[in-house]
């Protein structure tokens, strides 16, 4: 080995050469190379099922590859990688599902790894809180340290997970969709931290569906598709659409499709809606065939508005009309019966019953439509309904009786759509419908949304992503601190202008 070889391998935090991993005959990874330089911010891009998670699990020693020509961590060649070895070498992962303890406090969650150990000793809570606070202030956020984790909204739990990983002085941190549920300002704060870490020599591997963010933060991007390495690209000069094409293997067309639907009959009309502490003075109308984008920061009151519109919470003030009739839902069931459907932002916990089958998840809201003559559930009608929707929405499934958790995020979201479309709604409220859904599948979901609008459905699209609202809505409404502050015409505003309007 020459001296240049030594420096060469010293400059890498991680080098994997020719890694193959097979699951039940399927090559999850096929002869993949992956390199991360020390102190680099690297992005790992690819659709669901492209092998990103498998790759991370190999680096962290969870999976053992069937074949690997070479595995190096910080210049040290390793024959095998186990979780213990990976951890000791300074590799850590923040998984998307966070892996936190819901009923422990924020401080306990952040300092958790300091508290575990074999030696019997007391826990210094004061010190723990001090350290937790220090990490959080690095993240530029303040949380109630003694609040139990489960009392926090998803966005703040994510922050706790990140803080926890930052507590351990890792040299190579993988972040799996870390910003999926953060607002722009939280995301910016996180990206700043990532830059700080990078300047201190810590390598960060970013896995994110948000391509804008990927291009913003990373120096290089490794693209995987179907378990194979597409290539490694510098992010300089790379565009979002080009990256999307590399990941999916086909061209994605993103353009403004808005048109004026004000002449169509008004499906939903709200006047002066208010709910104390959440929103007030909301006037909103949605016409048949219209997609209204609702954007704003987390905490702007968008989800709260949706909950009130669907009868899950009571309005303090204001009136609503649905198809010209007064609409005052007393419960979600009531709202569903009147023709309103609500796709929750939290698909994993609220949108679907992960333990149950695809079929049961599809029919759950329309049981009264699949009854036989004596009022019992008809297996035949149930199957027919499920097959019909699976086909209409192009959901890729094995058997209708398979657990819903076997599907990818995009296909799960299609099942959620199917479940609500089966109720034959007049107004469909989509609350962040593409969280955890990859680029190709997002396009598929928005194609469905457009089709539905063309069939005359009124759609309220709540989203965190400016581009999503701009390219898929006929009108974009901007909500801030519980009020509607502006309405934009996607044909007359650019992405940058809209982003500035919302985030600055």
């Amino acid at each position: 080995m020459t001296s240049s070889d030594v420096t060469d391998s010293q400059q890498y935090a991680l080098r994997l050469v020719g890694v193959t991993k097979i699951f039940g005959g399927v090559r999850a990874l096929n002869n993949v190379d992956f390199e991360v330089r020390r102190g680099e911010v690297h992005c790992l891009a690819g659709e669901n099922g492209s092998g990103k998670s498998t790759l991370i699990k190999i680096v962290t020693g969870v999976h053992r590859p069937e074949a690997a020509e070479r595995m190096e961590l910080f210049g040290e060649t390793l024959d095998t990688l186990t979780p213990v070895i990976a951890r000791a070498r300074g590799v850590s992962v923040i998984w998307q599902d966070l892996a936190l303890f819901p009923n422990m406090s924020v401080a306990e969650n952040i300092a958790f790894d300091d508290m575990v150990g074999l030696a019997p000793r007391g826990v210094d809570y004061a010190d723990m809180r001090k350290r937790a606070k220090a990490v959080l202030s690095k993240l530029n956020v303040s949380l109630d340290l003694s609040a139990s984790l489960e009392s926090l909204p998803i966005a703040q739990r994510q922050i706790v997970a990140i803080a926890r990983a930052l507590m351990n002085d890792s040299q190579l941190i993988f972040m799996d969709e870390p910003t999926a549920s953060l607002t722009q300002s939280e995301t910016d704060a996180l990206l700043d931290i990532v830059r700080t870490l990078s300047s201190e020599g810590v390598a960060v591997v970013f896995v994110s569906h948000r391509l804008a963010e990927v291009l913003d933060i990373a120096e290089r991007v490794t693209v995987l598709r179907d378990g194979c390495l597409v290539d490694v690209f510098p992010t300089a000069g790379m565009t979002q659409s080009r990256l999307g094409e590399l990941m999916t293997g086909h061209v994605l067309d993103e353009k403004v499709v808005a048109c004026d639907k004000q002449d169509a009959p008004c499906v939903f009309k709200a006047e002066n809606l208010a709910r104390r502490g959440e929103f007030n003075g909301i006037d909103l109308s949605i016409h048949a065939g219209e997609v209204v984008g609702l954007i704003g920061l987390i905490g702007a009151g968008r989800t709260e508005l949706a909950h009130a519109m669907t009868g899950m919470t009571r309005l303090d003030e204001g009136t609503m009309h649905l198809n010209g009739q007064p609409f005052a839902p007393s419960s979600l069931r009531h709202a569903i019966a009147q023709g309103v459907a609500y796709v929750s932002e939290d698909r994993l916990q609220l949108g679907l019953l992960q333990k149950q089958s695809i079929a049961d998840n599809t029919v759950i809201s329309v049981l009264d439509r699949i009854l036989n003559a004596v009022g019992l559930i008809s297996g035949r009608q149930k199957n027919a309904l499920v097959c019909d929707w699976v086909q209409q929405l192009g959901v890729k499934i094995g058997e209708p009786d398979d657990a819903i958790s076997t599907l990818s995020g995009g296909n799960q979201q299609k099942v959620v759509l199917a479940k609500w479309l089966a109720t034959e709604p007049k107004l469909l409220i989509l609350d962040c419908p593409t969280v955890g859904v990859d680029v190709g599948a997002r396009a598929g979901i928005f194609r469905i949304v457009r089709d539905l609008a063309e069939q005359g459905l009124a759609i309220l699209l709540i989203t965190d992503e400016v581009t999503e609202a701009l390219f898929n809505s006929d009108r974009v409404i901007h909500m801030h601190h519980g009020r509607i502050v502006d309405t934009h015409d996607p044909r007359k505003i650019s992405v940058n202008e809209l982003e500035t309007a919302i985030y600055v």
């Binding site: 019953l353 333990k355 759950i364 809201s365 009022g375």
Partner: protein, 331 residues
């Protein structure tokens, strides 16, 4: 083994495994005791198993919904007591059929009320089913002991023996009663809207809420119906023992939980079928009858039930499946 594989897919793994286990038990006990494989033994099992069976069914839906009903035995006792007092008020041994029917209706009403109260508290107060049903169990026990002063209530008409000891078409009457209730529950759980909701509530009640299912109404109905089945068990107990005593059948409470786990119900709720649970009840009955026949101490059969459950859990565990794969053992 291809045939076994096919049946297994049709009936479900749990059911087939339990059936095989049952055959194994029959073989072992008939080898150990010549009296096991006789009509008399099976008839005696047919009179004994239904009580445990009914109580287990009362426990089933609460457990699938992710809860528990610890008050089943005392609900049965109080229901039996309700019936007994009506029958006694109408003349005791001389009471007519209409008095008996009235008593049965009152018993079922009492069971339903006890269940509905629990369901309402669980659904609308949000208290945990363990706490609510534990409180109900203690309340009912106290109430029953206060009313009976801890003693037996007896002196019933001869018709009661028909249900407790009679037979129909050659099968024990209690077995018929159990079969009817079990069939009704199979249909209720697997085919009705309520049953569908039970499974959904058990796997994620908030997601069920967000899907527009009437989750609170479902919870109330689950515990009300559980109370109704307890009442039927209470009536059967009354007929079998020709007396009512508060605390009768107390030991069966945890055995119902055992039967349900043996029947492959997900301890965290959301999954489980009726048929394997019925097989589990029969297996437990065979174990205790078989041990009794070979002259084992009756207390031993309780110990064997416990050991049996531990064994089944180990055999079913993921770790054991992995172990078999590593060793290349085929099933």
């Amino acid at each position: 083994m291809k045939g076994v594989e096919r049946i297994r897919r049709l009936l479900g793994k749990e059911t087939v495994d339990l059936l095989l286990l049952m055959v194994l038990l029959v073989l072992i006990f008939s080898f150990l005791s010549p009296r096991f494989l006789t009509a008399a033994n099976f008839a005696s099992m047919g009179y004994q198993a239904p009580l445990l069976g009914l109580l287990t069914i009362a426990m089933l839906a609460p457990m699938i919904s992710g809860g528990l009903n610890l008050a089943i035995v005392y609900t049965a006792n109080i229901s039996g007591l309700t019936m007994a007092s009506i029958v006694l008020a109408f003349g005791g041994p001389e009471a007519g059929t209409s008095a008996i029917l009235l008593g049965a209706a009152a018993a079922i009403l009492a069971g339903a009320i006890a269940g509905a109260v629990m369901g309402l508290i669980i659904a609308y107060v949000g208290a945990h089913p363990i706490l609510v049903s534990l409180a109900m169990m203690i309340f009912l026990r106290g109430l029953g002991e206060f009313l009976t002063r801890g003693g037996d209530v007896s002196g019933f008409p001869a018709e009661f023996a028909l249900l407790g000891h009679g037979s129909l078409l050659g099968l024990p009457a209690p077995l018929w009663l159990f079969a009817v209730v079990a069939l009704a529950w199979q249909i209720l759980l697997r085919k009705s809207r309520h049953g569908f909701s039970v499974y959904m509530v058990g796997s994620n009640i908030r997601a069920a809420d967000y899907s527009g299912l009437p989750t609170r109404r479902t919870l109330v109905l689950i515990y009300t119906l559980s109370g109704v089945v307890c009442a039927i068990a209470g009536i059967l107990m009354l007929a079998r023992f020709n007396s009512v005593r508060v605390g009768h059948g107390e030991a069966l409470l945890l055995v119902t939980v055992l039967a349900i786990f043996l029947g492959g119900i997900d301890p965290f709720g959301g999954h489980g079928k009726v048929l394997p649970v019925i097989l589990a009840i029969l297996i437990l009955q065979m174990l205790s009858s078989g041990l009794n026949l070979i002259g084992a101490n009756p207390h031993l059969s309780t110990a064997v039930w416990g050991l049996f459950l531990i064994l089944v859990m180990v055999l079913r565990s993921e770790q054991f499946t992995l172990f078999k794969k590593r060793k290349g053992i085929k099933t």
